[in-house]
Structure formats: C-alpha cells, structure tokens
Symmetry: C2
C-alpha cells in the first residue's frame, strides 16, 4: 500500500478575517525512497510550527515576502526525522529542521544552503527547535539584542509576552539585568509570565476596557518609564507604550497582529518619536542570518540548562492545523503553537 | 542717555494656534561696559534666528526641552558683535554666535562652555551662521548623514524643502550622488528648489487637495521608491512617503510642525515600518555636539565656495519678530527666517 502524505493547501484568500474555508486538506502519495534524486532527502515531520507571519502571506498585497501561492502547500517550519536520503550529510534517523510546510512529509533538496539543518535533540527537545531554539527564539534575540540593546537596570516591555517570541524576549532581558514587563491577554497568561518566566510584572490587556485604563496600569508597572519595547501586536498597546518611553528609547517592531486582517491601525501620536528621540525599527529575522550562530548558542544553552522556560500549545494531526492557526491569531494558544504530526 | 535693549517676552501660552498676543515687547537698559562681571561679554545682536522648535517651547507640555518660562525673553539663536568684554578670548568687534534670545543685546557668561563662539565672516556672511552654517545646517547634516546615511543612487525626499534645514539636506544629498525630491508649499518655492538648489524634483503639496493626489505626484517623482526621508512636517506627507519607502529605508524625524498646535496627527499605517523594515529615528541636534566640527567644516566650505546656496526671509527690527515667527509656522517665509536688528 502506498504511504499517503496529508497536506493543507491555501485554497482561497481571506476577505477580512481568515477562516477554515480558506484552506483545503488533500492527500498525495509519499515518494518512494528510490524515487529521490541525488541530493534529495525525505523527511517525516514530527511537528509543524504555526506562526503569525503566515497570516500576512495569505494576503495578496505588497509585503516583505511573496504571497503564499493559491493551491500550494502552506508555508511553515517543521522538525522531523530523515526517512530516506540521497545526500551524504543526512542519514536515516537524523533529526532535522526545515521549511517543510503544512504537511506530514516533505522532499527537500538538501544541496540548497539552509534548506535542512540537523539538530541535536539529546539536551533540547525536538519541538523547541521550532520555538525558543528556533525561528521565534532568534527573532526575540535579534529584536532585543541587536535593536533594543538593553542595558542592566533599563525597563523593557514586550507584548504577546507568553508567546513563543515574547517569552524569550523577556527571559533574555531578565538575564541581562533589566526590569521586564509583559503584556498578555488573560489572567492565566499573566500569572505564567510572572510566576514561571520570572518577569517583574505583566498587564492583562483584556482587563482594560480602554486605552486610558491600560495606560494607567502600564504606568504603575513602569515607574521609571520604558527604555525598550518589543512590539508584536500594534494598536492601543503601542500608543500607550510610546507615551511611557524614555528619551532615546528603542522600539523593535516584530509584528503588528492587530492590523493583519487588512484594517490599518493608526499610530495616534507619531510626534512622540521626535519628542522622546526614539529609534523605531522594523525587522524580519530571516534577513539576518548572521545572527543565528550567536543566538542559537545562547538560546540552546539556556534551554538545555533549564534557564529558559517555554510552554507549548499542541494540536494533534495535520487536519487540526487551520483551526489551531486561527486560534493563534486570536490569542487562544498559550505559548508556542505546534501541530504534532506523529 | 542710557542705551535701551528692546526685548520680546513670552507673556502667556497659546491655546491652540500661537498669536501675537502671546508675546510682549519691553525695553530695559543695556548694562554699561564697566558693569560687566569677570568673564562676561556684552553682545549687540545683528540677527535673530526664528525656528519652528520655538513653537514647542511655548507650550507647557512634556517635551524634550523645558518650556519657555513666562515673563522671560524668548529663547533664540543670535549672531552679532562684541561691544564690551571681560573675557580674554573675546575682544570688542569680534563676531559671535550664541543663544542671545529675542532681544537686541545680551550679556553672556562666556566662561560657560559653548555659550558664545567666534565666527569667521571673511568668507561666510554673518547671517549664514544662523542658517546653513549654523544650527539648521548641522541639523540637516546630522539627520541626513548620521541617520539616513545616503548612498549614491538612492532617492532621498525632504519636506519643507526650501527652508533653512530642508535646503541643506537636499544639497548635501545631491553632493553625495542621490536623486533628491523636495516637498514644499507653493509653486515659487518648488521652482526655487529645483532651479536654484538643484533638486531633481519638487512637489507643491498645496497643489494637491488630498492624500491620493499627493501620493500620485510623489510616485511619479520617485520612480525607484524612496530610500531616505527627512521629515520636517508630519501628517499627510509622512503617510504618503511611507507608502513609497523601499525595504530598509531610513526616516529621520526632525520636526512635525503639523502637530505643533496641540492636535496630534496620527500616522495612518505604522505597519509599513515592519513591512518595509524601516528605521525611524527622532533626533534633536543639540544632543549631538560631537557632530558640529565635521558638519561645520563641510557646510562652511560649501557656502564659502558657492556650492551651498541659501535664501533668507529677513524681517526688520525686534518688534517684527512675533509676526515673522507666526508666518514661519504657516510657511509664509521663503528660506531661512531671520530678524535683522542693526
């Protein structure tokens, strides 16, 4: 019997909010081992990563990346196991990360630089290579260390604080002697951020009906103002943070999930960038490959020794990916959102 | 007969737009030469500089600088001549720049570092030390060279292009091999920017009724997009420029005159900072004294050899300063706004 590969394709583009009807589940045969070309590797995915950037790819608008083509497998990071190989550097049984997409198996041209990387799962769990020791972790590292450049004693704020990126930002900043304040949606997430991750404070934005109330809580949590802000969401939170920024503060813009459905969210008072002499910088981690070795060393070491904590929301089976992804966009996940495929 | 010093005080703070009734003209005796303390210098001002930043000082709100105190002489840059001195480094007849304020004479404690600087007026006219070879020129230099860091072949846009700062930004960028596009208010200003200053194009924002029309003109003038933007105004122009920015573009925020009367002007689509991976930085030149020698050398050399052109709007007599200042805020000046006092 032929082994089948279940895949999720982008079937049509969202009008406003994304929905499950934008996706389509199909099944195709897995290539046989002897059908691989030289340099190709067949990978069985153990985990698929779900990340907010995927929502941007679903639109057909100008952005930093090409739109996800219709009728093709959704893009996505994966970690798994080599099940067949025609490349000398990869052997059956190796654990590897790559961009396998929303499917159970992928055939990778391993001669392409960076397409597939072996990972050591003796001290770091496989799934962490999609989270704290993967793209989200390096994203946190780049924005915090290279843009915000925090100094001991400074105050750093991060939104989506319990998420895959935000949790790493906060723990890296704590390790550098900063006061760290998270913003998250829900009392349980805030409790986790403070009690488990060791942030100094966390503000539950859902507990605040308007910007004024949120700002008041932010002010109380940041008695010395804010020196660095790691932005994952945009909207009211960004407006409030800008009002608390100290002179020469740095803002790393990693995501603006608030505007992903097409309605731009204005920044209420851009003059604050001048008044407070801020540096505001947008970035995409894939454009800074030079930072990976340095970041992976620190992140891997912290995870292996238990100094970097993380949490995962795990959906089961490829068919659950669309629902899990839509939940992620609404903040229903708690920690890194994964889909377990094995 | 005692020599009198006419002064303009800030009498009360503006409610919304500033008006002449916010100011008050008074007259006080000029100190006699023998009344000076050791280290003091008496300066007769030839020119007073009027600059947009002064509007911010008139408000009593949190900003980068202390508000201008009520009942005191308005702050302002001046260039003039030493008429009496009890400081070894300054002699009667020396030409000096300082922060003399809106008045005809000032007594300066020349022992204070940077309070008074001698200037060479043999090759550069005295008034230029308040413009292209003064604070506005160094402001242009810092924002363009240190923040935007233009490379030959890139496109740089500057708003308030015919003004004291904008005109220097454009000429410095042209000297570095950039395509330079100005934005100014009025056909005469635009003609000057292109024909006299040598910009590649200039858009008269007053000729465009809405953002869409302005954007269309901007697009035509920037066929290869925009790599650097020097911001003096804010509002619709900034929104349109952000839509034309290339990946890794730089925005230097020097002024946001559009919001100086208290009504914040939202930035419509801050997500563009992420989409285009922009670096947006606010700055105030007085906080970067290290750049002065380098900037003054290039600017002074360009003015002395005629490679840096400038234009001045000169009001006559200290009593005309308030009207001239309000005109500046409305863009009624053409080039650097000065008040001639001698």
């Amino acid at each position: 019997m032929t082994l089948m590969n279940q895949q999720i394709l982008l079937d049509n583009r969202p009008q406003g909010e994304a929905s499950v009807s934008n996706f389509k589940l199909v099944s195709t045969p897995v290539p046989a081992a002897d059908a691989l070309a030289d340099g190709q590797v067949l990978v069985r995915h153990h985990y698929l990563s779900l990340d907010p950037y995927m929502r941007g790819r679903m639109n057909d608008s100008k952005s930093y990346a090409e739109p996800q083509p219709l009728g093709q497998v959704m893009i996505g990071g994966t970690v798994g196991e080599v099940v067949a190989s025609k490349h000398a550097r990869f052997a059956v049984g190796d654990h590897v990360v790559g961009l396998g997409g929303w499917q159970e198996y992928s055939v990778v041209d391993a001669t392409q630089r960076g397409a597939l990387s072996k990972v050591d799962t003796s001290r770091v769990p496989m799934s962490a290579y999609l989270g704290s020791v993967g793209m989200p972790g390096v994203t946190a590292f780049y924005g915090l260390i290279k843009i915000i450049q925090p100094k001991a004693g400074e105050t750093v704020v991060v939104s989506a604080a319990s998420g895959a990126v935000g949790s790493v930002v906060g723990q890296l900043a704590k390790a550098r002697g900063c006061r760290v304040v998270g913003v998250a949606g829900g009392a349980d997430k805030c409790a986790y951020v403070v009690n488990e991750l060791g942030f100094d404070a966390c503000i539950d934005y859902k507990a605040h009906a308007d910007a004024r109330s949120f700002y008041k809580a932010l002010k109380e949590a940041t008695p010395n103002g804010i020196d660095g802000y790691f932005e994952n969401v945009g909207g009211m939170i960004l407006d409030s943070v800008l009002l608390r920024m100290n002179a020469f503060g740095r803002v790393a813009i990693c995501g603006m999930i608030a505007g992903y459905n097409g309605e731009p969210t204005p920044l209420q008072n851009p003059a604050l960038i001048l008044v407070n002499r801020l540096k505001v910088e947008g970035f995409i981690v894939s454009e800074h490959p030079e930072v990976w070795p340095e970041a992976m060393q620190e992140l891997g070491g912290m995870v292996a020794t238990g100094r970097m904590k993380f949490r995962e929301s795990v959906a089961q089976g490829i068919a659950s990916a669309p629902e899990a992804f839509l939940g992620l966009l609404k903040g229903r996940n708690f920690g890194k959102q994964l889909v377990k495929l094995v």
